[in-house]
Point group: C2
């Protein structure tokens, strides 16, 4: 009744408004036509299911953000470089300007992001991965995060290669925030069809867009996001992702052309390898050795990173800093790191005057550094020469081998330390560069040992250390993230694919080692951050076929009968706090008839209570007095049986993104399995009692 | 008892054998040690779950087959070319030798393959796609098919570009046969764990190997097989596929090096495009137009192909030929096609002297044919010049534009006709070449219109028609197969990735058009061959959210009570022939308790009958006399409810590869949904009554 009244009032209001409008606005017919047209356009654009517009918008928006951020960051870095050059001989002043810049930026980034929302720190991929398994982390995708992350990330990146951080992770996060926002906008327009599955689809596409707008690499953007984010994916989502990622990458590279950075659309880290004879057959052996090295180093790194991430949370000093003075913690780390990278000090052996992009471009150089450095003058250049970036590495004191090795050793712990900073930052790009450095070192060594190439039958085909750098980048980043598509990423980002087979071999070898001994970077973070997490069952754990659900399920399940009354429901609701309860036919048979949501039960209790108090004796009870009548009982589409094997149950949990499932025996409820039980059972498999 | 006796006898037999062996073989200790070692190695190699060895073996075997086949085919084709040249001026003799060769080969291919098994015809991808949705087509993967397909395919390919057929599809089929065979071999050694899911995993990997060993393209092999084969995909299978495909591709290219075809491992259709300035920005517009053209042509082709495939089955003449004289049908088609392609006749306008590989290489030429043909002599060369393959296209009578257009027109119907031949043959490669020809025509036209390149500010950057050919190949093959990974395939096969963004744009545009108007080539074949098939729900069919399972389910379900006796079971088994029946608690409540397989019921009936006859009155019945005791009742893990929407039900059918599902209401069985009902409901969506 109240609702009807309200609508009547609204209608009246509307009529009054209509009259008023008519007074002010002439040509009612024209306006009506225009309105109909606009409605038709809206109907066309916002048709449920046609989300190509949204995917397009998502790609373009992210490309604009990515380009703008790159542009700002490069201006900031140029300013810093200019300042360094202007200060000339004043070492102290140069030192101060060198360290103040990153300190201020990092502290501001941490403070700003954390003051708006604590969820804006880190990369965001682990959390997004958790969301995609069906866990709801609502506040993670709010648009509030967006500003914090954009501003924070810009500052982080402006701190340059000193801090050695990237932008892939945050871009995936930003992209999914925009996708969630666009999705909410649309569902407010079109109504609430298929919200959950659509949201999932959009998030998957968003992850692809995030990667592709950073590297301008559509295909590997999709693949990387699939590998990192999910255990299963639908081909239809892949198409969506592909479309959005292509729009994003195209726009991103187009902007670079419009900004006259490039003559035409081309790869972001364009290389210039010789394609007629990129590598010789026996070199595949060295590529595989490179894979072994990358795999081993990645295991060490993953272990140290996880340990340090836990340590700074355990250690009283750092823990208290991180709890109350996050910016101070960031500043302290920045002081340490930037002091080390000061070019007059150790920085000269770390190529620290190069930006992140220059580091990568220099490592992918198609020339052999060793040969170049033999012919070069023995003087250390005063400024960075954009055409000879390799000279930054060719420190005459310790040769290129020394700088590369020193870089690898120092950046190992410096980057591990940087990942503990609570500010928006990506960790993929540094890993990629680090891998390229390993590859370059191996490649230069091979080129040094075989200066004439390996098969010397007349034609000289010298070894290309750049190819090794490419393979190293792909293999190391692939091992750290447990993904294979980094190989493709390396090709798309450099615009050359001639090294495909050796690079893939390195990536496979490195991945085999890393996956055997360590969880991936993102899984490691999920473990340390204690996010809900379903471990993988390794295919060699054949006991997973032997353990049955009956052995690890929770047996004390609160069951509600269909004819349960107020008291029963009250008792169940107060004694437990599950989100869903099984409803059985009757308490005797215990046959599962459906499920009921906690919210439904609470509403049932509320209506019941309110009815109780002012009840007029003769009036019939309008709402149902038993559960079956008063609540919506959801049908059960999915249930486990006591004899379902752990392996199968795990597979179904992953496939259907289940959070819990009831266990039945011939239709009777006998237990319940949640992700907690599942996880425990899997852990017991690995460490049998 | 009988079994025990048999085992006792076997044991005795074994002991006797042992004694005999001991007599002949000395050093029992050494032998025991060796045996233990071998067992340990077997245990290590055949450990369940570690299927890397198998994947490796699969890749290597397929690479060997692919290489051997290519080698044989190239020898055969060379012989044919030599014959043609030797015959010199005798036009009639040349004509005869030109047509007899393909006729004989095609007729033999058809006859041989069909005489061994009728399943060896065609590409095999549609059938494999059906198998991967969970339908059992057992005989399709038997090793008997293998020989038929290998020999048949070799003959088909040896017929050369006259028949215009490829090898991708059959290789996918061959690869899955080997995978199934290896799987059976393994499960006979290790026992029967996880057979079904493992088989599925191996088949998915096999599809990837099939594609990758044809093109030497591991990444796109995996992606293409994913897109074409399945609607959902597990990342873990993707890794397996990746590994196997890499092994296959590496081995395949390695063999080419060992055979001195190439100096080092490189792409199979290596191109040599200029990478410093591959295309100019405004050219993306022409690339998109190319996408539109490819999409439109692909729709026409798909329609005609499906129509013709149906027509030859309906037309009395061709139908009777196909039923009884398949080789004759093939031979007739071969006469027609090869007469047209005779180089002295119309073949000179069709570049018919080139092999399939040469056709593709010539189309991907980095030079502009128009410019070349301007400077070339006006004479038609007598033989094929391997370094100037383009000359085959530059017929002075109708210029290159004429030959390309003629090629496109003629090959349209000739290839459509060739797809109706009942012999082992792939259809991807011809589609790829056809697309390249379309692209080349567009590219040459653009280059003709803008001879100086599009932006003429000083530096001349001429247009590369080869890039258009690449985009055309990717876009047309992508549109025909409804996949996007053909873009990547084009890059991997040519070894250059500089055109990535425009190519992907063309592919996206072409796919959008083709997916909107026509089912894919493989889906079309599935429809025509009437294989079990679950149509896709388009995302704009929002009614799929409104239609509930209750509206389209089958309601007359045969139900068995747990306490059903012989008579009930007999009645149910004789009156219907489903593979599985729902078991309810009791006939009154109708609560679903589990399912029972038909085979179980039949065994139940058999044991019952055999007990009846020679029963000794006092003896207790050893087997259960009711269904609940005598049969294994499988638990139900999955059920639909009447209120599940069609969209959700479809999603679950696809995700879980279900063949049927029971429908319940509060636990009670009310109906059943099979793929048939599902398909009908989806078709009703598209054509509402």
């Amino acid at each position: 009744m109240a609702a009807m009244d309200a609508s009547a009032i609204e209608q009246g209001e509307e009529e009054r408004l209509m009259v008023r409008k008519d007074v002010f606005r002439p040509w009612p017919k024209t306006r009506r036509t225009v309105k109909a047209c606009l409605l038709a356009i809206k109907g066309f654009l916002f048709r449920v299911g046609d989300d190509w517009y949204f995917l397009f918008a998502l790609g373009v928006i992210m490309a604009l953000i990515s380009f703008t951020m790159d542009f700002t960051v490069s201006k900031m870095l140029n300013a810093h470089r200019w300042l360094q050059q202007e200060l000339g001989g004043h070492t102290l002043l140069r030192y101060l300007s060198w360290i103040v810049y990153p300190i201020a930026l990092v502290a501001f980034s941490t403070g700003f992001a954390q003051s708006i929302t604590p969820h804006s720190g880190g990369s965001g991929i682990p959390e997004l991965k958790t969301i995609l398994t069906g866990v709801i982390l609502e506040e993670y995708l709010t648009i509030k995060n967006f500003g914090a992350k954009v501003v924070g990330l810009t500052c982080t990146l402006s701190a340059g290669s000193t801090m050695f951080l990237g932008k892939v992770g945050p871009f995936v996060h930003l992209s999914s925030m925009i996708a969630a926002y666009l999705g909410r906008m649309r569902s407010s327009v079109t109504g609430n069809y298929e919200n959950k599955s659509k949201e999932h689809e959009m998030l998957v596409a968003a992850a692809a867009v995030g990667v592709s707008t950073v590297f301008g690499a559509p295909i590997s953007g999709v693949l990387f996001s699939v590998e990192v984010m999910s255990s299963h994916f639908a081909v239809r989502n892949y198409w969506r992702g592909f479309f959005a990622a292509t729009c994003g990458a195209f726009m991103f590279r187009l902007l670079a052309v419009f900004n006259s950075e490039q003559e035409t659309i081309s790869a972001i880290f364009k290389t210039n390898f010789k394609i007629t004879f990129p590598f010789d057959l026996p070199e595949t052996f060295f590529y595989m050795i490179l894979g072994v090295i990358c795999g081993t180093v990645s295991c060490a790194y993953l272990f140290c990173q996880r340990w340090l991430l836990g340590y700074v949370r355990r250690n009283p000093f750092t823990a208290s800093l991180l709890a109350s003075d996050k910016p101070l913690y960031s500043a302290l780390v920045a002081i340490l790191v930037s002091s080390i990278t000061f070019p007059d000090f150790l920085g000269q052996f770390l190529a620290s005057r190069l930006t992140m992009k220059e580091l990568l471009v220099s490592l992918f150089d198609n020339r052999t550094w060793w040969t170049l450095s033999q012919n070069a003058s023995a003087e250390w250049p005063t400024g960075v020469d954009p055409n000879n970036l390799w000279m930054e590495w060719a420190n005459p004191k310790i040769t290129i081998f020394g700088t590369l090795a020193f870089f690898i050793v120092m950046k190992f712990w410096m980057f591990t330390l940087a990942t503990t900073l609570p500010m928006p930052a990506g960790y993929f790009m540094p890993v990629f560069i680090y891998g390229a450095a390993i590859g370059r070192l191996v490649g230069e060594t091979v080129a040094y040992i075989f200066p004439e190439g390996i098969t010397s039958d007349g034609v000289v085909n010298p070894i290309l250390p750049g190819g090794y750098a490419l393979a190293g980048a792909a293999a190391y980043s692939g091992a750290v993230t447990h993904s294979l598509s980094t190989a493709l990423l390396a090709f798309e980002a450099t615009g050359q694919i001639a090294h495909i087979l050796p690079v893939i071999l390195s990536v496979l070898v490195a991945n085999a080692i890393a996956q055997k001994f360590q969880p991936s970077f993102y899984d490691g973070t999920i473990i340390v951050k204690k996010l809900p997490y379903l471990p993988r069952i390794r295919s060699r754990q054949i006991n997973s076929y032997k353990v049955n659900t009956g052995e690890f399920m929770k047996t004390d399940v609160e069951v509600l009968a269909k004819d349960a009354g107020f008291e029963d429901v009250l008792q169940v609701v107060t004694s437990s706090d599950y989100s869903e309860y099984p409803v059985v036919d009757n308490t005797e048979s215990q046959v599962l008839a459906g499920t009921v949501k906690r919210s439904q039960l609470i509403r049932f209790l509320e209506t019941h209570e309110s009815q109780r108090e002012p009840r007029i004796p003769d009036q019939k009870v309008p709402c149902g007095s038993t559960l079956g009548e008063g609540c919506t009982i959801d049908p059960v589409t999915f249930q486990l049986s006591s004899w379902t094997s752990l392996h199968e149950a795990h597979h179904l949990f992953e496939l259907l993104s289940l959070q819990h499932a009831f266990v039945t025996e011939f239709g009777k409820v006998v237990g319940c399995v949640t992700r907690k039980e599942m996880r425990k059972a899997i852990e017991d498999l690995a460490n049998p009692k």
